[in-house]
């Protein structure tokens, strides 16, 4: 049984076919990087996995339960999303809440943690991402790198089984990229199942168990990094690598 199983996934925006017949298995503990040119459908695939985008057709199973089934209810979906953490390019911290409140909000509302429990969890996560001193700050006072680390802590506070990262370092100044990648690396090494859309190919090469290369809505290559970077399975991937690497 795969953790996530995707079958014949299609996604259209109007006439634009963004994903065409995606088939993918993700096992527990895998670290998968999604790479490919802009507009190839990487974000859309990631967003389909936690149903921020509703697939046009196809099936997604999580632990053998079909989350795309028409009978899958809104409440089930909310429970499912609790298990799938997501980190966005633009951080999307809640500006009206302090750093600690950003992290405690969902555990208190959806997991039923008390304020004390949630705060304790938040503070230990902030410690883990190296931001203990920012616990009472508001997001507007944080740098990009700090914001993204808070966003990661916020997702982790739900104790998810999978983490999705959509270009987590693309909006950051170069000097802040490293601090965020370090946090992700640590997470990946701890055994967390991760799907990461990234343009940081060196980083992807280091931490991934698999690299997926998307182009035009298709997965053209699905290889371990050592193979992908030496003999990519598709000429398009080879071209892509020669351009950016």
């Amino acid at each position: 049984m795969s953790l996530i199983n995707i079958q014949n996934l299609h996604k259209n925006f109007g006439d634009l076919e963004v994903l065409r017949d995606i088939n993918l298995d993700v096992e527990t503990g895998e670290v998968i990087s999604l790479v490919g040119p802009s507009g190839s459908g990487k974000s859309t695939l990631l967003r389909c996995i936690n149903l921020l985008e509703i697939p046009t057709s196809g099936h997604i199973y999580y632990r053998d339960e079909e989350i795309t089934h028409p009978k899958y209810k809104e409440e089930d979906l909310n429970l499912y999303r609790q298990k799938i953490g997501m980190v966005f390019q633009q951080f999307n911290l809640f500006p009206h809440l302090s750093v600690t409140e950003n992290i405690t909000l969902s555990p208190m509302l959806t997991l039923g943690l008390s304020k004390e429990e949630a705060t304790e969890r938040a503070h230990s996560l902030l410690d883990r991402v190296g931001l203990s001193d920012k616990k009472d700050s508001y997001p507007a006072k944080l740098s990009g790198g700090q914001s993204q680390r808070v966003a990661i802590a916020r997702a982790l506070a739900m104790q998810p089984e999978v983490m999705l990262f959509d270009e987590p370092t693309s909006a950051l100044d170069p000097e802040m990229v490293k601090e965020v990648l370090e946090v992700i690396r640590e997470l990946a090494e701890s055994g967390m199942t991760c799907l990461i859309v990234t343009h940081e190919l060196a980083f992807a090469k280091e931490i991934s168990s698999r690299i997926l290369f998307l182009d035009g809505g298709d997965i053209l290559a699905d290889q371990p990094p050592q193979d992908f970077f030496t003999h990519p399975a598709s000429p398009r991937a080879k071209e892509f690598l020669s351009l950016v690497f």
Partner: protein
């Protein structure tokens, strides 16, 4: 050109009675009438904004409905109400609709002014008008909170309702509040049209005093000053409130 100008000037001075005397001593004893008119104006404006806000919330919910018909009704309503003069709407409610049997009763329990058919009808007409404007205000405020915010909330497992309540609405309120204050200030002035259908508001108090004292100019000055005072004081308070709620201030200064 100079000739024409001086001609007009001559003519207009000719039209003004030579010995116009501004004399407030005759109208000031009527201060209770002005005061009552002021109270009625404030109450009518406040009720209008409150009922308007409630109706606006309904309109926004309808606008967001998945049922196309419901969403269309809300859209059409806003279009029609904002696209026609408020005086026309008032006259339709007051004199037009009763002809086809739609009329509000007197409610004596609310007193002779507020319980009158005219006052109730005006309140309905004004509230329905205000609702359309406030609905657009609310919609703008909610839309101003980026989709990234609700996506982040949903990705954490929050329900649609929790997302609205804890993420969207708290961020929309500081955006909406100044507009709501302006709507109230606007209404204080706009409600003056109800005097045309005989409702005793601030504007109408001027009619009463004028008829009793034969002073035309002075009562108009008095009510203008009162309107100016009300709107200035409220504008001042709104500015203060706005500063307190302003997004940037709030989110940066507290850090």
């Amino acid at each position: 050109m100079v000739y024409i100008l001086s001609h007009i000037l001559n003519k207009s001075t000719f039209l003004v009675p030579a010995a116009i005397k501004v004399d407030f001593s005759r109208v000031l004893p009527w201060w209770k009438v002005f005061l009552e008119g002021t109270g009625n104006t404030l109450l009518l404006s406040l009720c209008t904004v409150i009922f308007g806000l409630l109706l606006a919330l309904l309109l926004v919910l309808m606008r967001r409905s998945k049922l196309k018909v419901i969403s269309f009704i809300s859209k059409a309503y806003v279009l029609v109400v904002r696209g026609t003069p408020i005086l026309v709407q008032l006259v339709i409610w007051m004199y037009g609709l009763p002809l086809i049997g739609i009329r509000f009763p007197d409610i004596p329990a609310l007193g002779s002014v507020f319980g009158s058919r005219e006052f109730i009808t005006a309140l309905v007409a004004l509230s329905l008008n205000s609702a359309a404007y406030v609905a657009e205000l609310l919609r703008g405020g909610l839309d101003a909170v980026s989709t990234g915010q609700s996506e982040a909330a949903r990705s954490l497992g929050l329900s649609q309702r929790q997302t609205m309540r804890h993420i969207i609405i708290p961020q929309a309120i500081p955006i909406i509040l100044p507009g709501l204050g302006n709507e109230f200030i606007q209404m204080i002035k706009e409600t003056s049209i109800v005097s045309t259908v005989g409702i005793f508001d601030l504007m109408y108090s001027q009619n009463i005093v004028q008829a009793s004292t034969y002073s035309i100019f002075e009562p108009l000055i008095v009510i203008s000053l009162i309107y100016l005072f009300l709107t200035s004081v409220l504008t001042h308070f709104m500015k203060k409130l706005e500063r307190k709620f302003h997004v940037v201030n709030k989110y940066t200064e507290l850090a």
